[in-house]
Symmetry: C2
Subunit: 477 residues, 2 copies
């Protein structure tokens, strides 16, 4: 915390982001390059994300477990495209207990292989299916360019892994989970997302199909915010995950995997934040309300604190911070909590005590228009309404921003300028060559082919050939 | 799950334990030697343990965070006794992203060093103190002899790390946390524990004082079930964790650390289990109640399932499993859930439907005496009372067992036989030589010097010298 100004969001979005993550004490750099420490304020946000997702997983029949951190190197090599995708990113343990290991062990970059190995042992018959397991854990990928939350060597996530009797069931599960991510993003994080499938070149290494939710950040770039993979029988064949069907015939399972990571915290920061700092969506904010008492002398202080504590007690259903810090001015506290993104501030001064009112100040509307005077009596209902209004306003603002920054370019020249400021939604012929040319020439990648498509068809924005589907293209994190 | 009998608890406690962990699907062996997979039933138990502890941590002002998995090897070497204690147990990452690392990284065996490094950067003044952070994570120690839950290379735990302005505050924190562990063990896990301090030779590597909760397992051996360390200024000096006091003078902090791990699951199994399998304490059991419907034909089935589902709906406040599995007999289901330790079974058959009753069967009292007939109306209150009674009975039984197996031997010969069957509570002169001789001659270790001591003094059970304090000695896991 400090009085120093944060860098300008409009002038240097990247510096604004980095500074804010550190200043708001969401995370810090670890002594090991590219690793991060998630500080208490950041972890409290993650715990709220975890609760919101975990309850959705459990409501759809999934259970949690915990698989090991260390994987024999040979496991990674069993699925052809998986090893190609992950080999360059592995951290390798070569020594344990003072001795060189016979077989090197890798720190899991993801757990399809070790879970595949277990499922092969646990699944005997169709009665054991579907097997619907999730785990909350840490994984590690040796990235070269890192950025707090968005791309770090070690990161925190959940990875769901399921096994099914039919291809149709696996596909339904894959789609169910991407829809749960959409629902979470929209209704908990107030982050609008586009749901779609990845092109072959952007798929998870080892998947037949990858679905994604893509969000637009405050600088117009895309962030892949959650993915769900239909793994077909690729891992089932590599790890011999088989079941006896009702006719006593041995069959390979169909498997899926899906994940959301601490990267999502980056999305929340970059979608909602403004020049003053973070704006956290009320449903996920560690503190939904901060109460700042205002007084000039001991007599005022006693009366104001008494009222502030009474108000806090009234707000027992919310996550409330009463900032009683000595030696900091109310103005400092306002700025500090604005920077840290608390969605609603309650100010209580001597006049408020006299009148039995408080000032409510919305974080999403800094300045006069976001302030209102409400009676202390019935404060809980007023706060509840206000938090819901902020949650809704954040979503609508983000959606309006995305729509304003999404173009339907008439030609490739327009396309090129569109991806400089946001998303381009264009027909694509399906050819990987066009996708590659676009990437090389514009630095935009194919983010997803949305599940909802306009009727009819058109012509590929790159080569002009007939094209049946439109896709979103954007520069991405 | 299977119809096979489990090994006899009284004849081969160790095999009984191993088989039960696998059969009840609490955990499984990982492909890497000494690592474990915690399966959904075991992880659900751990999640309940987490909730019970985490709410106590938060109620006492602690917050959660997440520190990195990887630690520069040089960090471990900064605190003299810490490096001696942990060096032999380290797993070392030497390669990342396909290249040899300049400095090897170790997988955290515990996080005092990396947290000390962070605290040194975060703490500036007395205003930043106390700093009270906990994390739930995985750690890794390269153990030679392993056993599921009790000692594995990777295990799961929480580690709290706090920094304070005075030695007294740090000591008070250390004692507060061991008391929270005691409260958790007694009131959530129904596991009686002795609270005491460790002798110098059994202390945490780097601590000035280690407090422990020690529990007696069903074979009379001790299990260290949670520890809290007063680290003095050892880590503060090694990592330069300093603060400016109110007079502007730079001072070293006083720090603590404390942890409970998945090992506690081993304690729950070994304290409460019986010849039929697990008995899980109601407050932590993944399923507190299992409902087994009993029917012979489709007509009975329809009526019974309708009643069973209605009863389940009445029990919304509890964790209830309605076992509707087809193709398994009620008898199989009874055995299966008994083996898995569900504390209360509800049986519903056609006669119960007719009479509007159910059968309640207590897991801790197998056979007729544990069965009662209760009306379906008001079932929730009956279940609530019954679960509380089971929770209490489990604690009392474990306490009575410990008391029966705890001796106050008159001489060293009696001491030797006492530690063959349980705890010996004896005067000890405080000399490490006596402690060592006892360990060599009896395999019993000094488990703890309890905080509550009898008045007066006595003579050392080993050498006969005057002794001021009594200690518990036992063979231990």
């Amino acid at each position: 915390m400090s009085d120093q100004k944060i860098p300008s969001r409009s002038e240097d979005f990247s510096e604004w982001y980095n500074t804010l993550v550190l200043r708001a004490e969401l995370a810090d750099y670890a002594p090991v390059r590219g690793c991060m420490i998630v500080r208490p304020y950041g972890w409290a946000l993650w715990e709220n994300i975890q609760k919101a997702l975990d309850s959705r997983f459990k409501a759809t029949g999934h259970v949690n477990a915990q698989f090991p951190l260390l994987i024999p190197q040979s496991f990674i090599e069993k699925e052809k495209s998986h090893v190609e995708g992950f080999s360059p990113e592995l951290a390798v343990v070569t020594h344990g207990g003072g001795e060189k290991l016979e077989e090197p062990l890798v720190i899991r970059p993801t757990s399809e292989t070790i879970i595949g190995h277990s499922y092969a042992r646990w699944i005997q018959s169709y009665r054991d299916l579907p097997l619907l397991i999730n785990q909350w854990n840490n994984v590690l990928r040796w990235e070269l360019r890192t950025k707090l939350f968005l791309r770090t060597l070690e990161f925190f996530w959940q990875e769901g892994h399921t096994a099914h009797v039919t291809a149709e069931e696996a596909e339904a599960e894959t789609l169910q989970m991407i829809d749960i991510y959409r629902d979470f993003a929209v209704n908990e994080a107030a982050v609008p997302v586009i749901v779609g499938r990845k092109s072959a070149s952007e798929r998870f290494a080892g998947a037949d199909e990858t679905y994604t939710i893509e969000a637009m950040m405050g600088d117009g770039k895309a962030l892949q915010s959650g993915t769900s993979h239909n793994l077909g029988q690729n891992f089932a064949k590599a790890f011999e995950i088989r079941y006896l069907d009702r006719n006593g015939v041995l069959q390979h399972c169909w498997t899926t995997s899906w994940g959301v990571s601490t990267r999502f915290i980056g999305a929340i920061i970059m979608v909602h934040g403004d020049e003053q700092g973070l704006i956290l969506p009320p449903r996920l904010a560690p503190w939904q309300v901060v109460i700042v008492p205002i007084y000039k002398n001991d007599e005022e202080k006693a009366a104001v604190l008494e009222a502030a504590r009474r108000v806090r007690a009234e707000l027992g259903a919310f996550r409330v911070m009463l900032d009683e810090r000595e030696g900091s001015s109310p103005g400092f506290k306002f700025n500090d909590w604005e920077m840290r993104g608390v969605p609603l501030r309650i100010e209580i001064g001597p006049k408020d005590v006299a009148k039995g009112t408080v000032v409510l100040a919305r974080r999403d509307q800094p300045g006069r228009e976001g302030k209102s005077f409400v009676p202390q009596e019935g404060i809980a209902a007023a706060v509840d309404r206000m938090l819901a209004a902020i949650q809704k306003a954040l979503y609508e603002r983000a959606l309006a921003f995305r729509e304003a920054r999404t173009a339907d370019p008439a030609d490739y020249a327009e396309f090129k300028s569109a991806v400089e400021r946001g998303f381009a939604f264009s027909y694509w012929c399906g050819d990987a060559g066009c996708e590659k040319r676009i990437k090389e020439e514009t630095k935009a990648t194919l983010r997803c082919i949305p599940l909802e498509q306009p009727s009819g068809g058109g012509r590929c924005i790159c080569c002009g050939a007939p094209a049946g589907e439109k896709a979103y293209f954007a520069k991405a994190y």
